[in-house]
């Protein structure tokens, strides 16, 4: 057996002839088939590798800005509701395509929903008090922030913080897992930046980023996590963890959110439709080996007539709905795996980071009693894929270097980095065109592909709204003149 050669992400080593030729490699998390060196290398699929590769991609993408789609999404209102006059409710973000030679119709799509779309100066109690930060308590791990207003079981926190269950159904708290930041000083004010100064004192305001862990709707309390929090200090620096809770009397906003369609982020193995480097380029019928099928979630897309429709191309006037069912086997041909939730094991702050935990569902008596999709994102909570790392590098914050540097056998990391740099330059100048031709021949561009089986689940995670409220006709993308139409 020999290690894979060539410049694919995750291939650290040159060809090495092992003496223990019969050792079967461990199946990879990146769906590259196998991890060739997993027996002899430590931490092969580390966050560090994603972080480093993300930087390389960020630089490469940043030059050309190809497949960059800023969008504005006007939220539809429920049936029977009319949109009041004035500014429309919008969600603003960017979709970035990453051409790839391997899977998923040739292009991975990564999305960013920008910051400050949801603002807590729009949270009102029953008598119209705005939900600023009124007070807080804390323990070793969390801040408990009470919002201004009068809250009770009769007047709980409003949607989307808390949506009561209908007819005995389960209550929803879809904002759990979002990043909150204390960046609005006065109602309807402009969000402050790390550089904003108080004119009275000429010192910076500073702000805090932290993760929303839980919501106590009857007492108006938000539970915020200290671990992994982030602070822009009055010195103009960024520190983590934050040294203070969100400031009293400010209004919270929701921070940026990211999602990606790649195998790493979705934790899925895509079916292999074709390979550009095949000796004979041919279409393949997507299939999944029976041995690869697992019990778990199946995402079903139906069109407006109720028919199952998994086409990659969609029609603008035929919106699709997404249904999740976990009482079936996987979607053969599209995915080989259901994905999962991959969190860092940070439940006990102060302790060193232990092994990652893999939480997908809870089961009792061979029945799945609760299914948790991959909702909790951001900060350091979820392991990003290399594409999201690339977008985060574009934020301009030099992300902290993950400490799980992969330790390999013979070749040093310096050689690997040098090869990586050359490889990315080569891909950008020679191979991307081919990947693009292939990708564009398989799938549409945004917004037309946004209801494809790959993108709709990703978009639901990104926008954090029900899939039925993701409507193609509500997307405005930038035209060639720079305006949104």
């Amino acid at each position: 057996m020999a290690a894979k050669v060539g410049g694919k992400f995750g291939t650290f080593n040159k060809r090495i002839d092992y003496t223990f030729a019969d050792i079967k490699p461990i199946t990879t998390e990146f769906s590259r088939g196998t991890v060739p060196n997993s027996i002899v290398a430590m931490d092969r699929e580390s966050a560090w590798a994603r972080w480093r590769r993300g930087y390389e991609i960020a630089v490469a993408v940043g030059i050309q800005k190809s497949y960059n789609f800023p969008f504005r999404y006007t939220l539809p209102v429920p049936q029977g509701t009319s949109l009041p006059p004035g500014n429309d409710p919008v969600i603003i973000g960017v979709l970035q395509g990453f051409p790839t030679s391997n899977r998923e119709f040739g292009i991975h799509w990564t999305g960013c929903r920008v910051s400050a779309l949801l603002r807590f100066d729009n949270v009102f109690d029953s008598i119209g008090t705005r939900g600023s930060v009124a007070s807080y308590t804390e323990d070793a791990d969390y801040w408990y922030v009470t919002l201004a207003g009068t809250w009770s079981s009769v007047n709980p926190l409003p949607a989307p913080l808390y949506i009561p269950g209908v007819n005995g159904g389960e209550a929803l708290k879809p904002l759990i897992g979002e990043v909150v930041e204390d960046r609005v000083l006065i109602p309807e004010g402009i969000p402050i930046t790390a550089a904003s100064r108080n004119p009275a004192t000429d010192t910076r305001y500073g702000y805090v980023q932290t993760l929303l862990i839980d919501i106590d709707q009857n007492n108006g309390i938000l539970k915020l996590q200290k671990n992994g929090s982030f602070e822009a200090t009055i010195d103009g620096n960024f520190v983590t963890p934050a040294t203070r809770p969100p400031a009293i009397n400010r209004f919270l906003i929701l921070g940026s959110r990211y999602a990606c369609t790649c195998q790493d982020f979705t934790r899925r193995t895509y079916a292999d439709f074709s390979k550009r480097n095949d000796s004979q380029i041919k279409k393949r019928f997507p299939y999944t080996r029976p041995a690869g099928l697992k019990f778990g979630r199946h995402e079903i897309l139906t069109d407006s007539f109720g028919n199952v429709n998994n086409n990659a191309d969609t029609e603008l006037n035929n919106n699709r709905n997404l249904e999740l069912t976990f009482q079936s086997i996987d979607n053969p041909g599209l995915f080989q795996d259901f994905g999962g939730r991959y969190l860092r094991n940070t439940s006990s702050p102060g302790a060193s980071e232990g092994p990652v935990t893999f939480v997908d569902y809870k089961a009792k008596d061979n029945q799945i009693i609760s299914f948790s999709d991959y909702w909790s994102p951001l900060l350091d909570e979820m392991r990003y894929c290399k594409h999201i790392y690339a977008l985060r590098f574009q934020e301009g914050i030099l992300l902290p270097e993950p400490s799980d540097l992969p330790v390999e056998m013979e070749e040093g990391i310096v050689n690997w980095e040098q090869r990586l740099t050359k490889e990315v330059a080569n891909i950008k100048s020679n191979i991307d065109y081919m990947n693009s031709v292939k990708g564009l021949s398989y799938m549409d561009m945004p917004p037309k592909n946004l209801q494809s089986p790959q993108l709709l689940p990703m978009l639901q995670k990104l926008l954090n709204i029900p899939a039925s409220f993701i409507r193609l006709q509500n997307f405005s993308l930038q035209n060639k003149d720079g305006s949104f139409t």
Partner: protein, 75 residues
């Protein structure tokens, strides 16, 4: 500088001349004023919804509430 509704308050990613030049692909004429890349990862936008308007937060709440009771969006 006055920040209008929907404007970017803070962008972490400034497009250079070189990037603007290279982002003009194809042969059709492309015209734009200012930076054509409006929203980038890490941006913070200014959306000060006034009273009477439906804010993004309230609209997201309505959407999840409708989902919870089995109601779809307005066609």
């Amino acid at each position: 500088m006055t920040v209008e509704f929907g404007d970017v308050v803070e962008t972490r990613y400034v497009t250079s001349e070189e990037q603007l030049k290279r982002s003009q692909f194809g042969f059709s004429p492309v015209s734009f004023s200012g930076s054509p890349i409006v929203y980038t990862p890490g941006d913070v936008v200014h959306l000060p919804y006034a009273s009477g308007e439906l804010s993004t937060l309230e609209a997201v709440g309505l959407a999840w509430g409708a989902f919870s009771s089995g109601v779809g969006p307005n066609p």
